[in-house]
């Protein structure tokens, strides 16, 4: 617990899991959850570096902003998802392939 | 106020353009008189500047110097010396008169005058900037309004002409930009300040660029950039087309001011900053000047379109400037700058006169007139005066500047000067021939009711005529204005070596 690497490994794992979620899930809400995981991983890194390397509070501030960003992002994303649902009756991302055309 | 004269004189037209943009488009007279008032005010300011200006020293005066983009050492640096002072006056004067020439623009007057004022600001800015970056910005600022002014309000082939003008000059600008950046990166510390660059001049002669002498490479880059504006053979072909298609006032500005920016660039940037290269390139420059003189005059002789003829005469006349400045002698240099000013006034007159007849007859075919001096005697008289001024008759300012160019160039480029004197005969040839075909002989019955030149048109012409005549009889005021700066310039450049003569 007093070693930076333990935090970094945790963060890396969290990030990978989040990434996996984003890449593989079909459900949009699940993907959103993956994004949250990724953001959390980043946050852990910021705070950890703040404690172990830079020795100031800048990392903390960035975390605060990320959290705020996450909140905003979640709100907007959910709104979009709701629209998608209203439009199609489901929220399966792999079927939202209008980009293909 | 006096400390900021130059910025005021430069940015006043931009302010005017904004004001005009706010005027409702139906208020035609407001727009026109607004433009006239703005340019008139600018002219008054320009005269004030000359009054404040101390012409006994070659120092840069009325300096405005601020940091602008400090990270890149870009400065807002304005100032004038004896080289730019005549150009400032010329720009203000021609802009003012050109407003009256464009009185009868038929469509979208609001846009026209707003763009015109923007153009005015760009030109003025070029002549007062002492920071290369600022110079370049104004150089480009001027390009865009010009494109629209030709492209929208021009003649039948206007789009082609505008695009050609734009691409041609843009091509030049790119090379100019390259040269500018090369100068910036070679200088230590990196700077765009022209005065500091000139002080570091020896560095450019020593460095290498693309495996060649940096000074020479940069000189060539800048040369092409400026040569297109002058225009120097073989970069001249945009000119006849742009002049012919542009509306009269724009032709006036093109010939009167824009062409001068090329030669001004040589004298302001290339010569003092790249001395060795300037001396190395003096002989080719003189040869190009000779080609311009003869080629332009011969091409003018062949034209049937009056405006094209005048356009080619510009090519010929700018050749004298090149010849005079290449020689790097006091007489040649003063003659060159004086010729820049004189060509500004004379060619402006010529284009205005062409515009007058075009407005009435709706064509410019030299062969298509004949004997019209009978119905429009005043117009014929004024045209005769302008033509004689154009062919360098003593008593008009063009004579003095051409003579000075020759006198200055002769000791250095003896043979070139001797061949260049042929230009005198050719100039007389095409002007007189055109005059004869238009005004003399039996009256063409189509033009029995041709309308005489009106007071508004005369109002634009007479100041130019008076200046041309006055400076032809008594050139001292103008020469005093520039001689100390130019003599200094000659000394500075000459300090780097001898010009190879021919």
């Amino acid at each position: 617990m007093d070693h930076l690497n333990s935090y970094l490994v945790l963060s890396a794992i969290l990030f990978s899991l989040g990434l996996y979620t984003v890449v593989t899930r079909r459900n949009a809400v699940a993907i959103l959850m993956g994004v949250e995981l990724i953001l959390n991983a980043a946050n852990i890194n910021f705070v950890a570096f703040s404690k172990f390397v830079t020795h100031n509070l800048d990392g903390h501030l960035i975390s605060v902003f990320i959290i705020m960003l996450a909140a905003a992002e979640a709100a907007v994303a959910l709104a979009i998802i709701l629209n998608l649902y209203n439009d199609r009756g489901h929220i399966n991302v792999d079927e939202a392939n209008a980009l293909k055309q | 106020m006096e400390n900021h004269l130059l910025s005021i004189v430069t940015f006043l037209p931009i302010f005017g353009a904004v004001v005009i943009a706010l005027v409702p488009r139906e208020k035609l007279n407001w727009i026109r008189w607004g433009a006239a008032a703005i340019t008139g005010l600018q002219l008054i300011l320009a005269i004030w500047i000359l009054k404040v200006f101390d012409f006994s020293t070659p120092e840069v005066q009325l300096v405005e110097h601020y940091a602008w983009i400090p990270d890149f050492n870009i400065e807002f640096f304005m100032g004038i010396d004896g080289l730019s002072a005549p150009m400032v006056l010329l720009t203000a004067l021609l802009s003012f008169l050109a407003v009256f020439t464009s009185w009868n623009i038929e469509k979208a007057q609001k846009g026209y005058f707003a763009l015109f004022l923007l153009l005015d600001a760009g030109m003025m800015g070029v002549f007062v900037s002492l920071d290369f970056f600022l110079f370049y910005i104004f150089w480009e600022v001027m390009l865009l309004p010009m494109y629209f002014l030709i492209g929208i309000w021009g003649g039948p082939q206007r789009e082609y002409a505008a695009i050609k003008f734009f691409l041609y000059t843009l091509f030049g600008s790119v090379l100019l930009l390259l040269g500018m950046l090369a100068l910036y990166f070679i200088s230590e510390p990196h700077t765009f300040n022209m005065l500091i660059l000139a002080e570091q001049s020896s560095q450019f002669g020593k460095g290498l660029l693309l495996g060649m002498n940096a000074g020479k490479v940069i000189f060539i880059l800048l040369f092409v950039g400026f040569a297109i504006k002058v225009p120097i053979f073989p970069f001249h072909t945009w000119l006849p087309l742009a002049h012919v298609e542009a509306p009269t006032a724009i032709s006036v500005i093109l010939a009167g001011v824009l062409l001068k920016m090329g030669t001004y660039g040589f004298l302001r940037i290339s010569f003092p900053i790249l001395k060795e290269a300037a001396i190395w390139f003096a002989l080719p420059l003189a040869i190009l000047g000779l080609i311009n003189i003869i080629y332009g005059a011969m091409a003018a002789l062949a034209q049937r379109d009056l405006k094209k003829m005048v356009a080619y005469s510009s090519v010929s006349h700018m050749g004298f400037v090149l010849l005079g400045m290449a020689a790097l002698t006091p007489a040649g240099m003063n003659g060159a700058v004086f010729q820049m000013f004189n060509h500004g006034t004379i060619s402006a007159m010529l284009f205005m006169l062409v515009g007058v007849v075009y407005d009435r007859a709706h064509h410019r075919d030299i062969e298509g007139f004949g004997g019209i001096a009978k119905v429009v005697p005043i117009y014929a008289g004024v045209t005769a005066m302008a033509f004689f001024a154009g062919l360098g008759l003593p008593g008009f300012s063009g004579f003095i500047s051409e003579a000075l160019c020759f006198i200055g160039a002769f000791p250095v480029f003896t043979w070139i000067t001797i061949f260049a004197t042929l230009g005198i005969v050719l100039n007389a040839g095409y002007f007189l021939w055109a005059y004869q075909r238009i005004f003399m002989g039996e009256l063409n019955s189509k033009y029995e009711n041709l309308e005489e030149i009106n007071n508004r048109e005369l109002f634009a012409l007479i100041p130019l005529a008076i200046i041309t005549f006055f400076l032809g009889v008594y050139p001292t005021p103008m020469l005093n204005l520039m001689s100390s700066s130019l003599n200094h310039l000659v000394e500075v450049v000459k300090s780097a070596g001898m010009v190879a003569g021919l």
């Binding site: 794992i13 969290l14 995981l37 902003f65 | -």
Partner: protein, 163 residues
């Protein structure tokens, strides 16, 4: 003791995140996500970041998670208590994500951080954050507030039925 708690939290985070990633039931995933969030808050406490920890709980658990639950509820038929979920391209995903993980770890772990990695204990982060927030990060702070407002309005607009 502290070490033990730390590693417990560590494991909790990894496990709950894995459930989020691999779980078949969406509802389970959401609750697992709550575990992760809380775990991360714990980690923050170990990092002397008490303010962040509190924020984490308030915003994530109190805000985002609720939103997510609402999202799920609104987009699924209420009758189906078992809200299953499926995944695509699992194999490739695993491969790639493992690759990424390997890259991150190989890049980060052997790295020699400038200034070393001696931990420093902060006394009172709230005060420091507050000061920074209203001095160096003031503009960012204001922008953030605008962003939030924008998100608020945007979300409200998007979520309206008749778009």
């Amino acid at each position: 003791m502290a070490d033990f708690i730390f590693w417990m939290i560590w494991a909790l985070i990894v496990a709950s995140a894995a459930l989020v990633a691999f779980g078949n039931n969406l509802i389970h995933s959401v609750f697992a996500l709550m575990g992760t969030f809380l775990g991360v808050a714990g980690i923050y406490i170990f990092l002397n970041a008490d303010f962040i920890a509190v924020t984490q709980i308030v915003v994530y658990v109190g805000g985002i998670l609720v939103l997510l639950v609402f999202g799920i509820m609104l987009t699924n038929k209420i009758q189906s208590a078992q809200i299953s979920q499926s995944s695509v391209q699992k194999g490739l995903g695993v491969l790639v994500v493992l690759g990424v993980l390997a890259i991150v770890l190989t890049a980060v772990l052997p790295h020699n951080w400038v200034g070393g990695t001696t931990p420093m204990a902060f006394d009172d982060t709230v005060k420091g954050i507050g000061r920074l927030l209203f001095t160096d990060y003031l503009i960012l702070f204001e922008i953030a507030s605008v962003l939030l407002l924008g998100a608020l309005i945007g979300a409200a607009t998007l979520a309206r039925k008749e778009l």
